[in-house]
Subunit: 216 residues, 2 copies
Amino acid sequence: MSKLRCHISISADGFVAGPNQSEAEPLGEGGEQLHDWVVSLAAWREPHGKQGGEVNESTPIMEESLENVGAGVMGRNMFGPPGGGDWGDGEWKGWWGDEPPFHYDVFIVTHHPREPVEMEGGTTFSFVTDGIETALQRAKESAGGQDVMLSGGAEIINQYLAAGLLDELDLHVVPVLLGGGARLFEDLGDAEVALEQVRAVDAPGVTHVKYRVSTA
Amino acid sequence: MSKLRCHISISADGFVAGPNQSEAEPLGEGGEQLHDWVVSLAAWREPHGKQGGEVNESTPIMEESLENVGAGVMGRNMFGPPGGGDWGDGEWKGWWGDEPPFHYDVFIVTHHPREPVEMEGGTTFSFVTDGIETALQRAKESAGGQDVMLSGGAEIINQYLAAGLLDELDLHVVPVLLGGGARLFEDLGDAEVALEQVRAVDAPGVTHVKYRVSTA
């Protein structure tokens, strides 16, 4: 069955982005450190057109995150910079250049309607204005039996958690304290979200913890 | 050199005790789950006079936590139930019975002066009213060159973190969401606390992550 999976880097104090996110600092103050472990990997650098990089205990984790994924869902705050509703002149096409690294269709949950944007490399960005359930349904249809990857940010992950729609959560816990920012596991309301630890992996500068998620 | 070390169980959402701590529920609502991994261990049950128990990947972690410790420090909220200043009639002697499991002297940071209480098994509880630095100094003197163990709760750990006095932090991350309670890594003020990941261990129902702590 097609699952909704989420991979996200998180600080030891529970933030997936630092304080004061902006167009200049989309991950907030200090937030770039959350991705040091992944951008140092050869497995990340090669598909991003960069040479060199490390092979270590994080490599199979990163490779697994790419397997059997047929579509993506993300929040509006992950697709574009804070503020600006439809991203200024409506020409905003995400942070990832003309050929985004997804190579599958991505559904963006937003309050602002917009026509789909077809990118190079197999990704069309579609904008879903009627909620997270519709976005997931459309992504599952697009995924053709494969899984759907939920990219973030914190707010939409928390919404999917609260709605009982997330199946797997891979946290990449980075030894840094951000002291503020976008907090995971917040605003879950009365949802009784249960986690089952599937595995934990010790890697350089990061601990990978995989949880199976269910709701009572 | 004598180090200040801390071992603490923490929920995936960052709480070391659940909401509404009370004498009936000293770990707050749901907080008991944080200790399921340890009370199931033979290495915990034997010194607590109980039979049976498991031997698993958590066993060496628990054994290591007992090695080379010569004294302890804890917060007032860990020694006694919330409220009550000097714990009612002044006869409160902690949660651990006549022979507490520490077998070393423990220094309790509190605002309420009280004479030391000598227990069976090698522990005297002393009450320190002039702050965390004095408590640590007295514990180090008592430890005779061995390390000092900081037991908790969250508030005093955060104080030692903010003061740059903690050397090692072992988090035992439990796959449960408490949704509220006593949060670690809070109220650190302007302290620039740096964590270095020493190791992570995958164990049944818990991930053990050891950090070396320093301040800029």
